[in-house]
Amino acid sequence: MLVTLETLHTILGKAEITEKDPASFDPDVPLREQGLDSLDMATLVFFVETELDLSIPHQQYKLLTSLSEIAAAINTNRQEWSHKP
């Protein structure tokens, strides 16, 4: 199943790292430019990994700056990153 922006908005809400409405984040603008800091980003990706049961490699993590990039990277690599057989 493809990861959608709605899925990431839901996870963003669960992570409790922003007081903004998760749906108000522009998916194509780097999250760091929308008020998140480096620790917020680490937390968001931690929640993404936990909720979707996968591990995003450290090298790939550095390239993920926006919600669109996170969704696209997961949809491309999900089988490789997934914990499920």
């Binding site: 409790e16 480096s38 620790l39 680490a42 937390t43 990706v45 931690f46 990994e49 450290h58 993590y61």
Partner: protein, 317 residues
Amino acid sequence: MTLQSGIIGVQGIGVHIPPGRASNSDRLTDFGIEAAFLDNKIGVQKRAIMGDEETAVGMCLKAAADLVERGGPSLDSVECVVVVTQNPGIQIPHLSAQLHGTLGLRSECACFDVSLGCSGYVYGLAAIQAFMQQNGLRHGLLFTADPYSSIIDLADKNTALLFGDAATCTWIGPDPVFTTGKFTFGTMGVEHAALTCARNGRLFMNGRAIFNFAAKQVPSDITRLLSMNGAAIGDIDEFIFHQGSKYIVDTLAKLLQLDRTRVAFDMTDYGNTVSSSIPLILAKSMTRPENRRLVLSGFGAGLSWASALLTRPNVCS
């Protein structure tokens, strides 16, 4: 061989935090960091820095002197000394032997060091108590001293604002304030390079890897610890996590859904003191009678973690 199985536990703690301080607010511009990030995420305003003439052994001696001042054991009675450190100053001999000599302890005294970082105090508690109980020893000293100021790259944004120097000395004795239940331990060696001095003798930390490690391992370890000891979160009066940063302490409280008032935070004035962070807080916590059951959890280099449940001896399980 006669074994003595009498109860021993944490009977007192002496501490030493060097008076020297380095201000983090002076470095905000260097790293492009806002004051709010320093306050709310890092949580360290000043880092304790030992003086040019100070050493790990010197800090330990001051922590021992503090313990004696607080009514600690007669040094003549000490039969075991364990030091947790990865920065002893000199490699040979072991720091515990240097302390043994300087403190003038009896010759019938076991001394050994434990090479662990931020999980080291909890490991050390388990090791010294098991060693003492197995060998019928009544009085021991567990030291922590890991002066990271000697290995920090002050230009490294990931580590330069976090770590401070300190030492502690925990008296393990037969009339304890706290006894320990079953411990939990873990290691994720596949990620050992995430926190290392292997590259140039200076500390390297992959912040995201360390955050992920702590957020994944510690909450499940606390759950396992409580289950093993027949306790529930609601039974615990205070959670003392290793003070890696304010953000990691806050995150662990959030993930475990803990009442924030029961989660200790104390590093603002001196920083992340590695294996000393837990006993620095425990020294204060044990003076409050309302703190009857405590959970300690240390996590860091290795990557390694350990947790313990501490209970006042008069508290029924």
